[in-house]
Amino acid sequence: MKREKILEVKDLEFSFRTYGGVVKSVRNVSFDIYAGETVGIVGESGCGKSVTAQSILKLNPEPPGFFGEKSSIKFKGSEIVTKTEKEMRVIRGKDIGFIFQDPMTSLNPTMRIGRQIGEVLKGRMEGRENLSRAQIKERVLEILKMVGITDVEKRYKQYPYELSGGMKQRVMIAIALVGNPSLIIADEPTTSLDVTIEAQILELLKDLQERFHTAIIFITHDLGVIAKLCDRVMVMYGGKIVEKGSVEDIYYQTRHPYTVGLMNSIARLDLDKSVDLKPIEGTPPDLFSPPVGCPFAMRCEHAMKICYRKLPDYFDISDGHQCMCWLQDERAPRIKLHTQLMDKGEE
């Protein structure tokens, strides 16, 4: 199968000017997204995953935020970083949809659901179909049904406050989907929902993706969600991608000590009570003055001298599996990292 590259992010750097100094939220991040695939970005709060996602649509306020000089984001060949706000409005919703984390606050409380979804289709902007009011309504009702909302005629006229959290998230998904985009960015879409509702939403996203063949960038801190939904994973830490690869690679052939730490610190259902969890000691680095070396070095139990001095390169483990860690260098001591899942992978 020939895969079409729809998004190419290269050396993305995004920083914010604050009173305390410049915060380098995202540092030299590069990745590609191909049509129809689901890519997960996982990391803890403050690791830069949301900023990365939002900079693809230029949703971060500028100023105080600004792109690094070499940053380049190419969507279907055209550069996004240099686009103006007006040009971006054409892309948002139509080419790239966005699902926000908190459905409670990201819908407009003064606007009925129907109008809110229809807004994406409206306007006589360049590149948009000129739909009549009736056509828009028809399309909105259709999309509402598709995201699993019943009684659509009634819902069409309701306000966000009349819907539950799960319903609101479905509306958010409808907004992201209605323009028929080729890429959807979902920023922690299920974090604020209950597990049973989360399961519904994940199932829905999977279904819709199969139907529309949309690529999804899925941001979360939940490794379980990634395992269920994604084809590829990128693990972010301290504003950098520390490991990336296919889901199988990351879960069964884990190479980066941080990823290993993450895997070991989740209380899995089949974990015995007598076994202590292995947390990652310490806290994430301060991005006001990011460490010169590896951002994880201070919390890493295998840290060597070089880790504090020099930022590691990306080492290729296998096709598509890359890891930013000095342990992968041939001169480094062979250290056996271990997670429960890695045993499974070897079987």
Binding site: E44, S45, S164, G166, M167, D194, V195, T196, I197, E198, A199, Q200, L202, E203, H221, D222, L223, G224, V225, I226, A227, K228, V247, E248, Y251, Y252, G261, L262, M263, N264, S265, I266, A267, R268, L269, L271, K273, D276, L277, K278, P279, I280, E281, T283, L341, K344
Partner: protein, 325 residues
């Protein structure tokens, strides 16, 4: 756990109900006829989705709410009949760790003031002893004494939760109610806090009521689990037993909805996806609360409320199907 004290019941909740009157006609039944017990030295996990009344139970236990009906018996004595001195003593023995470390610490107090507030009331310590004790507590929860004179806003979420834990531990309680203590924290920090709570239990023989919505964490930390749905207990039993052999349809779907961090399993596992959402607890109908979302619901489920039936030693569930067997 101390073996001879194994059957020593510390807290007994009997037919606890808490109703909130919203208007003249509407009653929100947050907790409706809930009974369970907690033995000394064990951890009981209370799970359920948002709005199921799990926090309300916790708040009733610590007397932040006055129960509408029912009794809470602490160490053989009924809570509502406590005298002033007994109440004072109860406050020392029972402590709470709150969900949100951002809003549960007074922003205008320094860390040492926050932690020593309880000590000043309950223990007679000199200024110097008190300071030493606070330092000791801080070390215990993984902070250090330089942090004493700082304010809560200077700390990260995980550190704040540690301050909250130090505050709870400061009066040497025997029973701690943990109301979603880790749900606001990052994964790697969660594990730090869980390990810490487990260590304290081992060292000081604490009893925990662990309230959470994350079933995998609850299963890991608890000896017994109580599953709630819309103000009612639907299943209760040994943690292992509930995980291996869930009998109530709600528990089954709750367990299967947990996203497993194992791609092969996650993709092969057949999940039971619940339809619909948790209904409103305002003026609930006298029927099985879960009936509307249940795969097996029959006419009968909509007609009457099931009681808790024994399905195994210490394992109970409330489902009409079980009553028939």
């Amino acid at each position: 756990m101390n073996p001879e004290k194994k059957d020593d019941i510390l807290v007994k909740v009997e037919h606890l109900s808490k109703f909130f009157h919203i208007s003249r006609k509407a009653v929100l039944k947050a907790v409706d006829d809930v009974s369970f017990e907690i033995k000394r030295g064990e951890t009981v996990g209370l799970v359920g989705e948002s709005g199921c009344g799990k926090s309300t139970v916790g708040r009733c236990l610590i007397q932040l709410y006055k129960p509408t009906l029912g009794e809470i018996i602490y160490d053989g004595k009924e809570l509502s009949r406590f005298t002033g001195a007994q109440k004072f003593n109860f406050c020392k023995k029972v402590q709470m760790i709150f969900q949100n470390p951002y809003s549960s610490l007074n922003p205008r107090m320094t860390v040492s003031e926050i932690i020593s507030e309880g000590i000043r009331i309950h223990e007679k310590l000199s200024e110097k002893e008190q300071k030493e004790y606070v330092e000791e507590l801080l070390l215990k929860v993984g902070l250090n004494k330089e942090h004493m004179s700082r304010f809560p806003h200077e700390f990260s979420g995980g550190q704040r939760q540690r301050i909250g834990i130090a505050r709870a531990l400061s009066v040497k309680p025997e029973f701690i109610i943990c109301d979603e203590p880790i749900s606001a924290l990052d994964v790697s920090i969660q594990a730090q806090v869980i390990n810490m709570l487990k260590n304290f239990q081992r060292e000081e023989g604490l009893t925990y009521l662990f309230i959470a919505h994350d079933l995998s964490v609850v299963k890991y930390i608890s000896d017994r689990i109580v599953v709630m749905y819309l103000g009612k207990i639907v299943e209760t039993g040994d943690a292992e037993e509930i995980y291996k052999n869930p009998v109530h349809p709600y528990t089954q779907s709750l367990l299967s909805a947990i996203p497993e961090a194992d791609p092969r399993e996650a993709k092969s596992k057949k999940r039971i996806i619940l339809e619909g959402e948790i209904p409103s607890p305002i003026n609930p109908r006298p029927c099985c609360r879960f009936a509307k979302r249940c795969r097996f619901a029959t006419e009968e489920c909509l007609e009457r409320e099931p009681g808790l039936c024994e399905v195994g030693p210490g394992h109970k569930a409330a489902c009409i199907m079980l009553e028939h067997d």
